[in-house]
């Protein structure tokens, strides 16, 4: 029986605040064996990052390990001196952080930051440290490592910065690597590259890893075992296959039911959101923390006292913090809230024709390249019909936000036409549009924490919108309407007088939706409305959006980078890359071959939390080119994995035209028809998906 590399037992971590002690982690136990990758999954506020910082003994001035042990190779970290801890950090245990840009010193060259590790821990010479650093940079697949040693962090992209972070963590050959949401801040295709790198390095260096994430699909792909956390406690632990296929905790089950997996569909098999919110750490209920939201809650059993971790009888180390493991029927499907009927789409409401939007940048105090043009949108053409949901998909820098801004009048088009109900709005700013046009197209913003003005009450912000749109002639009328809107977004009328800081992220986003729908608009542009929300809240807000749309027959332009959500709710999809439309068509058509090579890579990069799904792995090399300097010909040719399948230099020379490959399905690619026909589906369901819905 080998000693676990990391053994956490009954860990309790508290934070001291002005209003008393707040528990962050309670009764947490976990074991990581050598060479194993353990995933730690939970939503924001569940305590997973606190666990990592607790392991490193870096809880800040207010954090305290109240009780419990954290044993690293048999020795308790809590009882070590500062000097011993210093020797362990960075050499035996090291960490990779969530935000790579903020985690690197902007005023120090990368080489120096890397070399510090061997210099401090292994007391090597400068020359040896340099060579080790260069070797590690190659190991993490960074091009031109020598040049990178002398560069500053801001000169490289986010994905490359994270690779540097990983290199820095691995330089002293640690035995345990902690990864705290290492890819959350990165684009999906970059994320796929990092994930592949991490898996390779784990194999090559035999490092044990603790992989923290909120993304179940990511954890499924990378980890051997998984711990699910909720409200500071571990609620389920086990082998990855066991937990995903034979989950034995209602939270895990509800979580999986609220994620848009390939089997779901907005009309026939809608998502089942988890009602309510996680409890505040100061107000933990008696008994099970999940009780108030649990569909299987039984008064008298679940709320009498603290719930222990109980073993699940399927052989192996599967455990769950539920007293009703035997009593619940785990194959029963959660009942969806509401089944929608597919809405028929009407006439085109928005027509965009060959839209181009270029920005002039004026170069900074001394910007290197002086005045130059950012080609944010290049010849975009698309149509959206009444009551239709069109998804615009792409990663950062593809131009989707610029498109939204042009539609709303925050920017004007450089050339091309944009029609809203036959009115040309492409060159009209919002301030020049009349009230009816302004109220006909509105936006839901991405960041819920910024979408409401922190200094005004929620009610007054909605009323101001109503006032601006000339809805209701006197104040009392508008107030009535505001209360109606609050009800529509399922918030209690007391919220009228609340300030935004008293609301959670999901609630703020609901207000954002209420505000957008206030003027009964014809078109709503939703810019990544759920990306910044917790997984369990995403389902509820997505459902709300669908609901409102169905009720009012609004056209929805849904911008996102998350293909699972897009597959769930879009009728048609438009894929953008570097300002161009590279593929468009009905959802099912886009998700099955033939694909544009970029869509193919995008589809394979999305982590899916379903064990029955098999994905081909396509990893893109390099970074997205800058919009200041787009590559000639096809924008994707610098990274295209199928580049060699097009003969000659066609891809570099000529921009491919949009060709039709199916009814309503167009692709911008030079690949010949045979190659397109021979494409395999990226996502295949291996066996019949366990029927999630009745």
């Amino acid at each position: 029986m080998t000693t676990p590399i990391l053994e956490i037992k009954d860990l309790n971590i508290f934070f001291q605040t002005r209003s008393g002690d707040i528990p962050a982690v309670m009764d947490f136990s976990c074991k990581v064996m050598p060479g194993e990758t353990m995933g730690l999954v939970g939503e924001s506020g569940c305590g997973k990052s606190t666990v990592a910082l607790g392991i490193m003994q870096d809880l800040g001035v207010n954090g305290r390990v109240k009780s419990g042990t954290i044993k690293f190779k048999g020795r308790d970290l809590n009882s070590m001196s500062e000097e011993e801890l210093r020797r362990i950090r960075g050499s035996a245990i090291s960490m990779v952080y969530q935000e790579p840009t903020a985690s690197l010193n902007p005023a120090m060259r990368i080489g120096r930051q890397l070399m510090e590790v061997p210099l401090i821990h292994q007391k090597t010479s400068q020359k040896d440290a340099y060579e080790q650093a260069v070797a590690m940079l190659s190991a993490v697949r960074l091009p031109d490592p020598e040049r990178l040693m002398g560069a500053y962090p801001h000169q490289i992209s986010g994905g490359q910065q994270q690779r540097v972070g990983i290199a820095m963590a691995l330089l002293a050959k640690p035995e345990l690597l902690l990864l705290d949401e290492p890819t959350t801040a990165l684009d999906v295709t970059i994320e796929a590259g990092i994930v592949q790198l991490v898996k390779e390095l784990a194999d090559n260096f035999a490092t044990s890893m603790l992989f923290i994430s909120h993304n179940l699909g990511l954890v499924l792909e990378t980890c051997d075992r998984i711990t699910v956390m909720y409200a500071g406690e571990a609620v389920e632990i086990g082998e990855i296959g066991a937990v995903f296929d034979r989950m034995r905790h209602p939270y895990t089950k509800s979580l999986l039911a609220s994620i848009p997996l390939p089997g779901t569909d907005k009309n026939q098999r809608p998502l089942v959101p988890i009602p309510g919110q996680p409890p505040l750490p100061q107000e933990l209920p008696r008994g099970c923390n999940f009780g108030s939201r649990c569909p299987q809650f039984l008064a008298g059993t679940c709320d009498t006292g603290p719930i222990p971790m109980l073993p699940v009888s399927d052989g192996g180390t599967h455990m769950s913090r539920c007293v009703r493991i035997e009593a619940i029927d785990w194959d029963e499907q959660p009942k969806p809230g509401k089944i929608h009927h597919a809405v028929k789409c009407g006439e085109p409401v928005v027509r965009i024709n060959d839209l181009k939007k270029y920005y002039q940048t004026s170069g900074t105090a001394f910007g290197g390249s002086g005045a130059s043009t950012v080609r944010a949108n290049q010849s975009i053409s698309l149509q959206a019909h009444e009551a239709e949901t069109v998804a615009i998909v792409g990663e950062s820098g593809c131009g989707k936000t610029t498109l939204a801004k042009v539609l709303l009048g925050l920017e004007t088009a450089t050339s091309g036409d944009v029609y809203l109900h036959n009115m040309a709005i492409g060159s009209t700013e919002t301030s020049d549009r009349d009230v009816r046009t302004v109220s006909a197209i509105q936006m839901v913003f991405q960041n819920p924490f910024d979408t409401l003005n922190p200094s005004q009450t929620v009610g007054s912000q909605i009323i101001r919108t109503l006032e601006k749109f000339n809805i209701g002639s006197i104040h009392t009328d508008r107030r009535e309407r505001m209360l109606e809107l609050l009800e529509l977004v399922k918030l209690p009328p007391e919220f009228e007088h609340r300030m935004p800081r008293q609301l959670s992220g999901g609630q703020k986003q609901r207000i954002g939706i209420a505000r957008a729908f206030a003027g009964a608009p014809d078109v709503i542009v939703a810019d990544e409305p759920v990306s910044a929300l917790d997984v369990s809240v995403q389902a509820a807000v997505t459902e709300l959006l669908m609901d409102m749309q169905a009720r009012m027959g609004t056209t929805l332009l849904f911008i996102s980078h998350d293909l699972s959500v897009v597959h769930y709710l879009a009728d048609r999809i438009v894929v953008m890359y570097l300002g161009y439309v590279v593929e468009e068509g009905p959802t099912d058509a886009v998700f099955s071959p033939p694909y544009h090579p970029y869509s193919e890579a995008l589809l394979s990069a999305v982590p899916i939390a379903d064990t029955s799904v098999r994905k081909t792995t396509i990893v893109l090399e390099g970074d997205v080119p800058s919009a200041l300097n787009p590559p000639p010909g096809c924008p994707f040719q610098t990274r295209c994995p199928r580049r060699q399948q097009v003969p000659g230099t066609l891809c570099e020379a000529e921009l491919p035209p949009l060709r039709t490959v199916g009814p309503g399905h167009r692709i911008r690619c030079h690949l010949s028809q045979d190659v397109l026909d021979s494409m395999e589906p990226v996502i295949q369901v291996r066996r019949a998906a366990p029927e999630r819905f009745g």
Binding site: R86, G90, A102, N105, A107, Q155, G368, G370, E411, T412
Partner: protein, 344 residues
């Protein structure tokens, strides 16, 4: 709103503008590199000096001032007509723009005019006094800057600790002591009660006893301010994520502070320190009056109180030049210190 910022102005409108090509070349050079920055800032500096000198010239040559000047120079009991004729005969009645251009021409040739208060050429009086003040300013900076930085770093590196509280209280007390307050208090303590130092300082005499009081007086006020800015910057940097990275890499505390934090934390205080030179100008005037140190500040006050037009104009020019040059150095320094801007 964004339309103006981002869309290029249609060239057609300006094509016939003479010098169009030069303007485009200028714009392009200005956007490139450090030299562009220096050139553009120098240009702004010249523009500022011109504007300010115009304002000062105008204010100094206001009618009541001129009348007072006439009375002082000739005869205090002149009648109104005699005043006007004196002004006429001395050339003060010509159009003000003409006189300004003449003065500008004279200055560029090095002729700063004649001081009516000292009855000598301005260029005989000004440089020496400026030198005395320069000495004083030099010693103030040498005393003040390293102490303040050290205070700020020590306070900010462990924010909230007891040493931080003590050092912060000290710095906040000093910000309540402008020069005339601290000067008075020091004089009372060291001169009247303890009798160690004299209450006046002779210009040109570079001894510790001579300089101690004025330097202390000025240094105390600026010390507090710089220390607080440094502390705030240091505390902010110590909370950044890259410091956590350094700590969890296994670096000892002193190396974290010296190698990682300092470089980033000193950017803001640098700008502040550069902008202390203009403050020194004002402080120097007060201190020189307090201790009767006959340097540049004393000269400025004398010129203002005695309507000495030429001297006043030259002094103003010097003050403005100091301010504008230090702004330039501060801007350039900020860019140089900040790798994010300097290296692309």
């Amino acid at each position: 709103m964004s339309r103006q910022a981002h869309e290029r102005v249609k060239p057609g409108a300006y094509r016939r503008f003479p010098g169009y090509k030069f303007i485009i070349w200028l714009q392009n050079t200005l956007r490139k590199g450090l030299s562009g920055l220096i050139i553009s800032r120098l240009g702004i500096m010249l523009l500022m000096m011109t504007c300010l000198s115009i304002v000062v010239f105008y204010l100094v040559n206001l009618q009541p001032n001129l009348e007072k000047l006439a009375k002082e120079q000739a005869n205090n009991r002149m009648t109104e007509e005699q005043v006007q004729s004196w002004l006429e005969s001395n050339g003060y009645k010509r159009p003000i723009s003409q006189r300004y251009v003449e003065w500008l021409g004279a200055v560029s040739r090095g002729d700063l005019g004649y001081s009516t208060r000292f009855r000598k050429n301005v260029s005989d009086v000004l440089p020496a006094r400026l030198g005395y003040t320069g000495l004083l300013a030099f010693w103030v900076m040498i005393t003040m800057v390293p102490t303040a930085l050290l205070l700020g770093i020590l306070a900010g590196m462990r924010e909230g600790s007891r040493s931080d509280r003590v050092l912060s209280s000290l710095s906040i007390m000093t910000t309540a002591t402008p020069e005339y307050v601290s000067g008075i208090i020091f004089t009372v303590i060291f001169s009247s009660w303890l009798g160690w130092l004299k209450g006046v300082s002779k210009a040109g005499d570079i001894t510790f006893a001579n300089f101690a009081l004025p330097v202390m007086t000025m240094a105390i006020y600026g010390l507090g301010y710089i220390a607080r800015i440094t502390r705030a910057s240091m505390a902010e940097v110590m909370n950044k994520q890259y410091i956590r990275t350094a700590r969890l890499k296994g670096l000892p505390f002193h190396l974290i502070v010296i190698r990682h934090a300092l470089r980033n934390a000193l950017i803001a205080p640098f700008t502040v320190i550069m902008l202390q030179f203009p403050w020194l100008l004002t402080g120097v005037v007060i201190v020189e009056k307090l201790f009767n140190y006959k340097g540049f500040g004393w000269l400025l006050v004398e010129a203002a109180e005695n309507n000495d037009i030429d001297l006043l104009l030259s002094c103003s020019l010097v003050s403005v030049a100091v301010v504008v040059v230090t702004q330039l150095i501060a801007d350039i320094g900020y860019v140089l210190l900040n790798p994010r801007i300097r290296v692309k």
